[in-house]
Symmetry: C2
Subunit: 373 residues, 2 copies
Amino acid sequence: MTPSNIGRFKLKHTDGAARAGELSTAHGMINTPVFMPVGTQGSVKSLCPEDLENIQATIILGNTYHLYLRPGDDLLAQMGGLGRFMRWDKPILTDSGGFQIFSLSDLRKISEEGVEFSSHIDGSRHFFTPEKVVAIQNNIGSSIMMVLDECVPYGADRAYTAKSLKLTTDWASRSRIFYPPGTGNQLMFGIVQGGFFHDLRKESALQITGIPFDGYALGGLSVGESKEEMLDIMYYSAPLLPVDKPRYLMGVGKPLDILEGINTGIDMFDCVLPTRNARNGTLYTSLGQVNIKRAQYARDEQALDPGCDCYTCRNFSRAYLRHLYMARELLSYRLNSIHNLRFFTGLVAKARQAILEGRFSGLIKEYRGIYKI
Amino acid sequence: MTPSNIGRFKLKHTDGAARAGELSTAHGMINTPVFMPVGTQGSVKSLCPEDLENIQATIILGNTYHLYLRPGDDLLAQMGGLGRFMRWDKPILTDSGGFQIFSLSDLRKISEEGVEFSSHIDGSRHFFTPEKVVAIQNNIGSSIMMVLDECVPYGADRAYTAKSLKLTTDWASRSRIFYPPGTGNQLMFGIVQGGFFHDLRKESALQITGIPFDGYALGGLSVGESKEEMLDIMYYSAPLLPVDKPRYLMGVGKPLDILEGINTGIDMFDCVLPTRNARNGTLYTSLGQVNIKRAQYARDEQALDPGCDCYTCRNFSRAYLRHLYMARELLSYRLNSIHNLRFFTGLVAKARQAILEGRFSGLIKEYRGIYKI
């Protein structure tokens, strides 16, 4: 790919608000809509790079907060970046660490300058500024960087949310000044906040989209709100984002949430749900959710999802998967994660195909029947 | 393979006491010396069947005690046997459960009839007889069955050991009567006990080799004795076993122990060491042991063992392996297990080649230098 292509987003087709596109990055092109498996600290839990290729992941996510603390971004820079370190040569998106600082770490202290926090690992004190977070992501060498934002907790009142929104805009602006368009081969996305207030979402979107980012994200969702509140903000906010740039819904969600997101015109998704639920024995199939520990599967010789092409479903029975889960075998985590992630990558691939063929509304209707929640 | 081949053991070459052979089983032929990865309860911890093929495992071990308790041998029979259940179509050896009953379970009560014990999982009471243990292994459908024995604890006195030896012989005899030669397509091995007394080992060997088994094992080693005591019994006992049958040293051991075993004329080995140590970050390499958590590896870009052909060494740096270990990532267990098992299968393959070429004494001398303990 020539450097001039990097960041180019081509819409191939639209179907209602749903979009099928192509995003070019320094590490390859991504077909959208896309689901990004979460590789928190340099590993999508239990999976190796071959597994990720086999489930047809085209981009994965790394967490800036975790990678900064361990193994450290300076080490990653020395190793040639995260991709080379973990032997993943396709695109990587790194978040800004904002969400983790506000959910994992203790004793955080926010100022206009940045945010001070304690490591959840050893309690050590650290200070993140918008500029530092970009520098860390430069060291990590991701394909797409996210700017530092304040992720407002669910239930925050209007006054707090409005004040926070301004801080997030200020930080976004400083991030882009620190790393102007065309600086390197990493893309940079801005994040819209505004909590659960329509007018604040609109205000944030206006401010953030006024800064020339390569893509725009909706943050602050999936933080404890009801499904109705989440859908309300998604359907309200997505159209506020530019048509000609990729749109990313951060941290969402369940299979149907993702289809609803696509239905609002979102292009990119990430969520820990498929891997975390895999480790808890909750598996997604084309016929609905399966709790593999249930006794009914003890002697069930069928594949978990007979329609699935993943390694797990091509090789093992529900009975074996249940046994591995009940015996707490390490292989259980991997086989379940392979399947759940393939379900998610397969779901967005199906959505893309449906958009290209103008039948996305049929697809979402079908899944609203299978996945009611 | 025609059924008449099953159980045939062909010596291809000897080099001193060391032997290179071929053992035919219902599920394929095994080149000996061979190392058998331990798949306790239907899974070699963290590995899938493809991993096992890639590390060139040719036979794995399953634990009768564990499989009987979970998922249950009746379930395995219904699923077409353990191999089909876990998608491993090559040979499997199952132990008799004796060692686990005497090391894991509580409140065991031994009688001439058999042994009563409590499950380590739920405390439920169970009773194993020699005949029942064979029937369980019939259900499991392994290629090689082991007879029930009493594994005498280290430090047992002469009187106890002598009495126990007679019980083990009686149980071995009942096992073979219950499943006479030629009954089915499963092989059956007897086990020599006798603790750390030469004359009792000799007595046990005489009695056990008087029963027409398909192979003979040395049990009761690696139970807490010193290295000198173990080597003493190994070097004393191996020559007491028939030349024309495969010889199996149960539960041993470290890399050098295995080479010493081969040097005494042993053909088959199993041990949890490579997988257990992998999970603890202790890795075996051609240059000696590596504790991957050590800070010196934090920025080490070399392969763990540059001379190794395993997936781990072909793809990842010591720095990445250290990071995965320090971050307690699930992938750490798998990558480390792949490497350690490949080290063990590679070690016995090297030993076999050396025997075929008449230079085994040089090989063991080399490893006595690398692995002093």
